[in-house]
């Protein structure tokens, strides 16, 4: 009996990427339409902005506020929404605000998968319905040596992860942001390996300070700040706090975040705020607080050492930067 040979596929039969993508879009729409038609009692597809309406209602209630920035003044809303790093929308600080409308957030769903007992993809409104929202005022320290104080609105990441039941093999948590090069100008250039990826160790992810934020300054998250749902890890450099998250995967192996892949010499996996370990090209000892003159001394773990230093006991933070 002759051995079976896989037929060789000529290059000419490979589907062009544009066609492939178009087909995928068509299928997605078909699925959405089918789901809408099948939903009992729903004549129309579910409102794309359902999460927005649900969230707005919740924001109008009084939320508990925890002030965790040592009483430092919050940054002006205007500054916090016009001076951003969100390379998907362009790499000048003003680009994210200018191109904010290019980020399509309605509808939005979040996938939780990997080492969990209950994986699943949920519409954002269903994610929000499960969680208790609160306001948290945190410092935000960018790796570029500037900082802000932001009143976030969100819920602990831990609450969400526990609902999905992490298995004993869940050692790390990978976050993936939106990938939409048709609309996001930054993703049409390969300055980073898109989509943007970030990751935390499971104990960091389960830490009570680690937040999934859906709003700030009492409002729904502005697009340029990572709408509709983003991570906030206040003791790490800002690039760890990934914006516009679509997927969370619990893993056994340590994932490689986008910035680590881009330049492992300059960006470490941990990226804890540390005034004693300089970025190879600039100093991390001081920072410019947006809205202030001159500079401030940068605090170890961005001032959250009492809460998080235990996570790293015994680790050489010069090496694990």
């Amino acid at each position: 009996m002759s051995r079976y040979r896989y037929p060789a596929l000529p290059e000419s039969e490979v589907t062009p990427k544009a066609l492939f993508d178009a087909r995928r879009r068509f299928l997605r729409r078909g699925v959405a339409l089918g789901a809408a038609a099948a939903a009992p009692g729903l004549l129309w597809p579910r409102d794309a902005a359902a999460w927005r309406e649900a969230l707005q209602g919740r924001l109008d209630d009084d939320l508990d506020t925890r002030r965790l920035a040592g009483g430092e003044a919050t940054t002006d809303y205007e500054d916090a929404t016009s001076y951003n790093n969100f390379y998907e929308l362009g790499n000048r600080k003003s680009d994210p605000e200018v191109f904010a409308h290019k980020l399509v957030t309605d509808p939005w769903s979040l996938t939780v998968e990997g080492e969990v007992d209950k994986p699943g993809t949920l519409a954002l409104e269903d994610v929000l319905a499960r969680e208790t929202l609160e306001e948290r005022i945190y410092r935000l320290r960018c790796v570029e040596a500037w900082s802000m104080v932001i009143p976030w609105i969100g819920f602990p990441l831990r609450d969400l992860l526990e609902r999905h039941g992490p298995t004993s093999r869940a050692k790390y948590v990978l976050f993936e942001a939106i990938h939409d090069p048709d609309n996001l100008r930054g993703q049409r250039r390969s300055i980073l390996d898109w989509p943007y990826r970030e990751a935390l160790r499971i104990d960091e992810a389960m830490h009570p300070l680690t937040l999934l934020a859906v709003g700030m300054y009492g409002e729904i998250m502005p697009n340029q700040n990572g709408a509709p749902i983003r991570l906030v890890v206040p003791w790490k450099y800002g690039f760890k706090s990934i914006k516009s998250v679509v997927r969370i995967a619990l893993t056994e192996e340590r994932p490689t975040p986008s910035w680590v892949a881009q330049n492992p010499e300059e960006y470490g996996f941990y990226a804890n705020v540390n005034p004693h370990v300089d970025h190879p090209r600039w100093t991390q000892a001081r920072e410019r607080r947006i809205g202030e003159r001159g500079k401030r001394e940068t605090l170890m773990f961005n001032g959250y050492g009492d809460e998080v230093a235990d996570l790293y006991s015994g680790m050489d933070l010069d090496r694990h930067y």
């Binding site: 016009s82 001076y83 790499n91 250039r189 300055i191 090209r281 600039w282 100093t283 500079k295």
Partner: protein, 199 residues
């Protein structure tokens, strides 16, 4: 028709306008608070970029003269070179005053510790003797040969400036690549020209 003399005068006025207008623009923006969340950073970036563009333009006036034979380029070169020096000086002063807020211990520490600051300071320092010797009398006292040798430092200064910008860049190297390409083109022209016209 304009006479040759008026052409040169018009060109000198054009250079004046080209070098001074960015200053009016940034001053206007500063005054009306249009420079965003961190105006000091915007000023430092703008003065640096303008200075480097003018420095490369100064260098480009040489090739422009070689290619067109029009003396206007040589006559206006001192003028634009001094403007480049002025803008780069403004760049350093705005970094010291607006960004570092006159915090001298830190300014000195950054100059010692940070490669991009070192390259920047070195590039600007090299321009000082060029600015000083740009006056006609000094030039005549030096003699043309020595003067020309000294003023080749402008290439070193521009290379340091591009390096300074390159080091500072995060992720997107489009702009520094353009500056580097222009500098390499100018150096290549200078070398080819020297070989072709060796006497």
């Amino acid at each position: 028709m304009l006479s040759a003399r008026s052409c040169i005068t018009a060109f000198r006025l054009l250079v004046l306008a080209g070098c001074a207008t960015p200053g009016l623009w940034i001053g206007w923006q500063w005054f009306y608070g249009d420079l965003g969340a961190v105006p000091s950073e915007a000023v430092v970036h703008f003065t640096g970029r303008t200075g480097l563009i003018l420095l490369l333009t100064t260098i480009a006036f040489g090739p422009a003269f070689r290619l067109t034979g029009w003396v206007g380029f040589m006559i206006a070169r001192r003028q634009i070179g001094l403007w480049a020096f002025f803008w780069l000086l403004a760049h350093m002063l705005s970094w010291i005053g607006l960004d570092q807020y006159w915090d001298w211990p830190w300014i000195v520490k950054d100059m010692v510790d940070l490669p991009y600051v070192r390259y920047g300071v070195a590039g600007l320092t090299l321009l000082v003797p060029l600015a000083v010797t740009s006056f006609k009398r000094v030039r005549q006292a030096m003699g043309e040969h020595a003067w020309h040798w000294l003023h080749r430092l402008v290439y070193v200064s521009a290379a340091l400036g591009v390096t300074h910008l390159w080091i500072l860049t995060r992720a997107d190297y489009l702009m520094p690549s353009l500056f580097l390409a222009v500098l390499l083109l100018l150096v290549a022209f200078r070398i080819v020209d020297a070989i072709l016209h060796r006497q």
